[in-house]
Amino acid sequence: MPEFTLPRRTVLGMLAAPALLTRRAAAAETCVVGTWGGDYARLLRENIDDPILKPADVNVIQDVGDETPRYTKLVAQKMLPRGTTDIACLGAVNGFRATEAGLVEPLDETKVPNLKHVLPNLRATGFVPHIYSAQVIVYNPAAVSDPPKSFADLLDPKWKGKVGMVSTVAPWVLMGASLVESGTTTDFDKAKAFMLKLNANGLRLYPETDSLAPAFKSGEIDVGVIWLARSFMWHNAGFPVKGQFPSEGAILYVSGMVVPKNAPNKAAAFKYMNALLEPSAQQGFAAHMGYLPTIDDAPLSGSVGEQLAFPEPKPKLVTPDYAVISKSMADLNDWWIKNIQHT
């Protein structure tokens, strides 16, 4: 039977290991990020968590889920002294709501130095814009030689039954319709009248964004209304659709993050916010998802820069009136489901 020996150095090492590990664990900060899953979560890991925060000794834990439960959690936990997330990813509308309801930490350049680079039209008090895109008219160039230049053109009988949209973006489509009918994003009476005419012209609705691509490919539709970023992704996936900015203006979709007032580790959250506004992180999202950088120091180059460059003359980009849309959204969705979906 072999003799069992325990060298002195091994024993000392084993005794010291827990202390060293504890010290390491104590030094690392933890940041819990409530985020969407899929590509978005992966790109956060690849462009922010691993290259920027890991070297800074911030351990990021992703809490993956849909936006609505995340917003609900913010509301439900508002009375708690310590919440469960340090960062919540939200669309700009919910970001505005959360700020108005006093759920989020006000942010400035002392906490997040990179905020000074945020584009002026995207700035908000407690909401840090991460990515944005514009609502454009997308068309299949193989089937359409003279694409619609405006929402108004979609009413032309030549597009009867050939225009498709995703039902989940109803408020943005209604803002686009309001823009063409009134020049503002909030004249919903005119927007509704416009949508009823478009629906009568054979508007096709799809349950989710990805179901539009097969409809384009099969020839079921030739024209759609969707985010520019999605046309970028389809283009790179081998389906060469083209985007046309509506002449009356393109409504912006902005997605970003907030720090809850009761975030357990605000210092780590501020570091995370600063990291997401780093040029390399912004360029990574643009290269893979086609969303535009929200800062002024992240130029896009190569084929990404060419694909995402604004045409000349530069199109009119319209930021929604969040105060109005956040209050109207439920009513607009209700009207949409009854009058556009249920026909």
């Binding site: 849909d66 609505t68 039902s167 099969s218 959204m329 969705n333």
Partner: protein
Amino acid sequence: MVLTLVVPLGFMLRDSLNRFDPSEMMIAAVTPENYLRFFVDPFYRDVLYTTIRVSVIVTASCLLCGLPMAWRLARATGRWKPVLVVLTVLPLFIGSTTRTAGWMILFSRGGMLDIVSRGLFNTAPINLMYTEPAVILGIIAINLPFTVLTLQSVFEGIDPRLEEAAASMGAPPSRAFWRIVFPLALPGVLIAAVLCFILCMNAFATPVLLGGPKFQMMAPLLYWAFSGDNNWPFAAALAFILMATTLGLTGLANVAIPRRYRGN
């Protein structure tokens, strides 16, 4: 049971009486407005009628197809019986969403049905996607194995010597089935129908994926109120209305069957 069912239902009932606010989500109140909104608005009533109509059609179709299949399965002998049972159970190994994706490939324009139809018969493009028949077919495909397996166990509990006795007195198999086997199986048939009906009333993935945005059923509507609008009070009210309707219609079906055929 109390902790996992009654208490959450109690919370949900309380939520259904609250008032909705877009920022605050819920404002504490005791108001019937969420229930009134449903019953006053013809749109919501229409969605409920559609859900009931689809559920009745699916249940009837599953019984119609499932009865002969289950009877044959119950009376099958030898080495083919396990094979038939496995074939019946096999679809349950695939998730309902995955199966629905298969239907989408079949039904959509440019899909298999469209290609075959246009290639062989030179027809106009066929697009069954986002239609009520597509939803009905999709739910039947999901519910049929449950119906068949439930009915099979019912038929296996009926002594085959009863059919032999009927045959010995000159009754053809169909007459023996309808006069002897079916009345004895009726309580089990009711259970299979109720199971199928409840599954259909609560169907979510199939109506969303095959019905599309223009086809509305209760479960997707409930999810839309909860997840899309964050309107928990109305979503809770919808959940109670759906549950009450399902329980009510199930109870009605039980009453509709003559007492002598009901199980004890």
